[in-house]
Amino acid sequence: MSVIILAQPFDPWQTLAEYQQKMPHLDGKYGATAVFLGTMRDFNEGNNVSQMFLEHYSGMTEKHLEKICTQATEDYALLETLVIHRVGEINPNDPIVLVAVWSSHRKEAFEACREIMEDLKSRAPFWKKEQLNSGEDRWVEKNTKGY
């Protein structure tokens, strides 16, 4: 289980390839991998967004992400979990968040991946400030609904 807070851009697919190579003890054990990748869009709520700043509460963020992953691992009998979240300056098309889970069967993988994302969205202390093309900036006040 890994929770990583990153201040620089990352390549989600290469990261997944490397992460999976480090778990040879699970070869042949997992039948299902579910992945969610959140990417920065260049528009939100009717406005063009040129850049974003992601603030977090260092320490509390990691603590709650680890709690969320531990809970999902128990609830869904996950074999492995990876959560990566960007902080700092983010540009359109940059990956923001990656959630990946490995389990024996697909039902558990799908449900755990979605639940980790929803728990992250509602409980992990991150805040987005958007810089609009107009020059203004604004705090994002709430997330879109996940269900």
Binding site: Y57, M60, H85, K121, P125, F126, W127, W139, V140, K142
Partner: protein
């Protein structure tokens, strides 16, 4: 011997930077809650209804007792992911 107070995102815009509350002043009261900490820091500023509170990095409500050495944080609804 102090209480660390942190403000994040729009709550920092509203109240200002992180600060340390002197525990001696604080301990003149028999009980100090997270709400009291907000009032010490915010003075007459109204607290937004949706503010979230954490003591030592766990979510709590405003009635939670705060002790010398604790870290108390106030922040708006989270918007990560």
């Amino acid at each position: 011997m102090a209480i660390q107070v942190k403000f994040f995102a729009s709550m920092r815009d509203l109240i200002g930077d992180d600060r340390e509350l002197d525990a001696d002043i604080v301990q003149q009261q028999t009980l100090i809650t997270a709400d009291d900490v907000w009032n010490y820091c915010a003075q007459d500023k109204l607290r937004p209804a949706n503010v979230l509170i954490a003591v030592n990095m766990d979510y709590v409500d405003g009635q939670t007792e705060v002790k010398d050495g604790d870290e108390v944080a106030f922040f708006p609804p989270v918007t990560g992911g």
